[in-house]
Amino acid sequence: MAFLEISNLQKDYAGNRVVENFNLAVEQGEFVSFLGPSGCGKTTVLRMVAGFETPSAGLIRIDGKDVVNLKPNQRNIGMVFQAYALFPNMTVAQNLAFGLKVAGKSKAEIEATVKEMLALIKLEALGQRYPFQLSGGQQQRVALARALAVKPKLLLLDEPLSALDAKIRVSLREEIRAIQRKLQITTIFVTHDQEEALSMSDRIVVMHQGKADQLGTPFEIYNQPKTRFVASFVGTINVLEGKVLDAPAGRFSLYGAELNLGRSLGEVKTGDIVALALRPEAASLGTTVGKPAQLTGIVQDVNFLGSVIRVRVKVGETSLSLDSFNQAAVAPPKAGDTVMVSFAPEELLVLAD
């Protein structure tokens, strides 16, 4: 049995269904992200797991125990909030000690744990500081340590990095993942940042309008998005509209060119329009070996991003983004140039709506 089990979870607010039929099984020690735009219900699910919201229907089990009717302070969960939520009237050490003190632990035990936690987040010297004397990144590390100090069964992270500067965000996400691996603690991480979700998670749940659109490893989510939403939310993607010629054989036409996907197009009829996704890095400019599909278009603009050059090309009515690696010897195209876009048809992804 999975360590955290959520089944048929549902939440209604004043007639609005904000979470619908949500199912998830998380294994012991797994790191799972909820990814989605704001208002998609990801935080609501997390808050139901924490016990701050009561589900309208459904089941939540932690370690085999139904927790729906338990108050937050009875669930033995650790949580880190977006806005740090450190107690401003306590020093770092006092913040770390809070959960232990409340649990009635002995002074010696509290002291030892606080020391251990300070070491874990590498802030040994700052135990006597007050939260306002710390940087945002330091505060969030303290918040993490505070949550971990009570040795929770489950760790919930509610957008813990979104209030931080870009650089600290990257270093802290590595640190969080390292600590999580070390402690082998089952973790749910809520974020709207796809890069965070992709880089940190064992598995990702992409959420959209209260429902889980797709559940999978970062590799699956990125490379085999199931819906148009997942494809567009995770990374940049081009959506092309093809006309079905022969669904089982995978034949379709795209801007006059006849192409073959090499596999079934799914439950569609001849003449239907089908949405096909193409990652910017899957297509290239000019003719390339192994990329038989070719479309002609006009360069709209060129963004030089350093190691990558992103070119937007207008093909028919559609604007395509193409990424290629920078090569010192090759000058990028200029706006207005007529270019060839080539790709392997097998790289196209068929999207459900």
């Binding site: 949580m79 107690f87 009237n89």
Partner: protein, 302 residues
């Protein structure tokens, strides 16, 4: 920031004089205010303070201060302080309860706005009319007195209640003390972040532990400050007490009022000493407040 930014942060004007003379001009800008404050606030107060240590001939003496130690005057200070503490304490307690009910008590949102508006108004009801209102309500012929007597057979005056007493005055003062507390503490309660409560809960704390370890310590400075303000508010109030009790309840401001008014002033310098005593009490109260706030607010950015 430009490298030649002036140290005083003086705005750059195209047609400016050299910065030196502009600096001295800047001083002049608040000169009218300083002169006004000196003439009508600081000097009059200092004058009283100095007067308290002078005899009629203008020589330095402790005699006036010593006269404060006579039993009747000490009693006035004592009852004044008692009323001020009682009305400030009860004002804080009840005001806090009502504010907490509005902010955290799960009451419908629409109750908040009328209560805040009413508090704004009622906190300014102090003075002569307030005394009339309480006389008309809890005096011997007042509405509540009569209702209780005729409707329920309870004669509150037979039970020893008197509007012209310590509790009567305290009850009256609460009419402006409670709203003042609500006005000041509601924003402070709003400032309690939801995440603090949630973080405490998820760490295993119950409601009592959250309040005693997190919320109250955070609110403590605001509570202290309001208490000090309410104390000073009640301690210096003359009009309400005078209109309510005449001079039958000899709290310090009324004794002082009578001293000045009566023009008896057989001993004008005793008046200065009385006033000086009032200043000392309010200064002690405020110093106590500042000291305790500094102690409890180490965690706040200075």
């Amino acid at each position: 920031m430009s490298a030649i930014a002036e140290p005083t942060g003086v705005a750059k004007t195209p047609t400016s004089n050299p910065s030196k003379s502009r600096r001295s001009m800047a001083w002049l800008g608040i000169l009218p205010f300083l002169i006004f404050a000196l003439l009508f606030l600081i000097l009059p107060t200092l004058n009283i303070v100095v007067g308290a240590f002078q005899n009629p001939a203008g020589e330095f003496t402790f005699e006036n201060i010593q006269k404060l130690l006579q039993p009747s005057i000490l009693a006035s200070y004592w009852i004044s302080i008692k009323i001020s503490v009682a009305s400030a304490f009860l004002g804080c307690l009840i005001g806090f309860a009502i504010a907490a009910a509005i902010v955290l008590g799960g009451l419908p949102a629409w109750v908040r706005s009328p209560i805040m508006t009413f508090s704004g108004v009622a906190s300014n009801f102090a003075g002569v009319p307030l005394a009339f209102a309480f006389l008309a309500t809890l005096g011997r012929l007042g509405l509540v007195t009569v209702l209780l007597r005729e409707g329920f057979g309870i004669n509150i005056y037979a039970y020893g209640f008197n509007i012209l007493s310590f509790w009567g005055l305290t009850l009256t003062y609460l009419f402006f003390q409670i709203p003042l507390m609500i006005l000041i503490i509601t924003p402070a309660l709003d400032g309690l972040k939801r995440e603090w409560r949630e973080a405490a809960a998820i760490l295993g704390a119950n409601g009592f532990q959250y309040w005693s370890m997190v919320a109250l310590p955070i609110l403590w400075p605001a509570l202290l400050g309001t208490f000090a303000l309410l104390f000073a508010n009640a301690f210096g109030a003359v009009a309400t007490a005078y209109a309510l009790t005449g001079s039958s309840l000899s709290i310090v401001p009324i004794v002082l009022f009578a001293q000045i008014r009566g023009d008896v002033l057989q001993d004008p310098h005793l008046g200065y000493a009385l006033a000086f005593g009032m200043i000392v009490v309010t200064i002690i109260a405020n110093t106590l407040y500042l000291w305790m706030r500094a102690r409890s607010e180490r965690w706040v950015k200075s």
